[in-house]
């Protein structure tokens, strides 16, 4: 019984408490680049979740086989292989999503959520726990990405998932800047500020400073050592 409860906790922690995008600040590049439409955000989230789930399961299964010294190259190889599989599937069955994601689809390989979960979680937990963790993190990433996509698409293009909304066009025209790169940084900053405000009210630590604590490279990073972020575990 206790086992089951803890699996549920592993699953749900990624939704809000340890949301990879808004709390751990990982995977910022695709978040900023893809969040110009809800559809693209959903596609990116689904692709990343699929890769994350498979990589966490495979790495957890191989955790006693992979030597500690070469673990990062081994993880990267596994992740790149899985990304290639997803890339081929998306190209074959969802060409519209492939066009929307562009080079950000192969770039899932270097998404720090996936490598971060591999090194920070999957290599020290069993397969079911790693799968729960991956699903939770994947859903959290997709949710945050869609939220950002919705804000930017509604304000910037006056539509939601491709359907134009009645308010825009007749009275006011959409605010194009939200679709452009500055709008991405701005909306992301405000969303993190909202998440910080909520966690402050609950007496929890704010989002990691620049996400360095969640980064696999933190140990070798000259700035990462100095600014140790608040703990989220």
């Amino acid at each position: 019984m206790t086992e089951r409860v803890s699996y549920l906790r592993e699953l749900t922690k990624g939704f809000l408490r340890e949301n990879p995008t808004l709390r751990l600040v990982l995977g910022t590049c695709p978040t900023l680049a893809i969040s110009i439409s809800v559809t693209g955000a959903l596609g990116m989230g689904a692709a990343a979740t699929a890769v994350l789930l498979c990589s966490n399961v495979v790495i957890s299964a191989l955790r006693s086989v992979i030597p500690d010294k070469v673990r990062i190259p081994a993880y990267i190889t596994i992740i790149a292989g899985l990304v290639t599989v997803v890339q081929l599937l998306v190209k074959a069955f969802l060409p519209a999503i492939d066009a929307a994601l562009g080079i950000y689809l192969p770039l899932i390989t270097v998404n720090c959520i996936i490598l971060g979960r591999a090194d920070g979680y999957a290599n020290s937990h069993n397969i079911p726990a790693a799968a729960c963790d991956a699903l939770g993190m994947g859903v959290g990433f997709t949710g945050a990405l869609c939220l950002m996509g919705a804000v930017r698409e509604v304000l910037g293009a006056g539509s939601f998932a491709g359907h134009s909304l009645p308010f825009w066009g007749t009275t006011v025209s959409p605010i194009l800047i939200f679709l452009l790169p500055p709008g991405g940084f701005f909306v992301y900053g405000l969303l993190i500020a909202v998440a910080n405000r909520i966690s402050q009210k609950k007496g929890k630590p704010t989002a990691e400073e620049a996400g360095c604590a969640g980064c696999v490279c933190a140990a070798s990073c000259p700035d990462g050592k100095k600014n140790k972020g608040g703990d989220t575990a």
Partner: protein
């Protein structure tokens, strides 16, 4: 000859200014936010990125052209490129440590961070999707790296000014950094069309 030079210059300045890797393409955001607090770390990181980007392009271009494309293995691009980059970064680190101690001391600490930097894999993938020639690919890589340097240096300046500002509690730290990045990106937006006009 003039035509080719013009074309290469256009690719270079597009990569630096209008299609800046960090501020327009969102590649390499982690080091942009993480290592831009002080000017000298920002410059060191950027120089290491330029170096690795150029080397990665040098190494992956022939592999892609003569090994993957001729054998119909282009679907392995992502896998092969990331492994080549990872191996290359390791080799460079070992070589610098052994033969060029001063350079290792200034750039070496940033090298392990660069393997998983999406700007490096990004530039290699962009070169392939745009079907650049070797010269174009090299110019694009160095230009992309130079654009990264420019964005890092400008942003390090902005951040050092913000350090002692009185910022509302919820916006302290990352949110205010992102909003500052948004304003820097906005200033780059003003350069849109400049490169096309000059080199067209």
């Amino acid at each position: 000859m003039i035509h080719i030079t013009k074309e290469l210059a256009a690719i270079f300045f597009t990569a630096v200014l209008t299609q800046n890797f960090v501020l327009a393409k969102f590649l390499g955001i982690c080091p942009f936010l993480g290592v831009s607090k002080k000017l000298h770390t920002a410059v060191g990181m950027s120089l290491a990125v330029i170096f690795v980007m150029a080397l990665a392009t040098c190494a992956t271009y022939p592999i892609n052209k003569y090994l993957l494309e001729t054998n119909g293995l282009t679907f392995l691009q992502t896998l092969v490129f990331i492994l080549v980059i990872a191996a290359l970064v390791q080799l460079v680190e070992i070589a610098l440590k052994r033969f060029l101690k001063p350079l290792y001391r200034s750039l070496g600490i940033y090298l392990p961070l660069i393997t998983t930097n999406c700007a490096v894999l990004g530039v290699v993938l962009l070169n392939v999707t745009r079907q650049y020639t070797f010269a174009q690919a090299m110019v694009n890589s160095v230009g992309g790296g130079a654009g990264f340097l420019l964005a890092m240096v400008l942003f390090a300046g902005v951040r050092s000014r913000m350090e002692h500002d009185d910022i509302p509690k919820a916006l302290r730290g990352l949110p205010s950094t992102l909003i500052a990045a948004s304003l820097v990106a906005l200033s780059f937006l003003g350069l849109g069309g400049v490169v096309e006009k000059i080199f067209a």
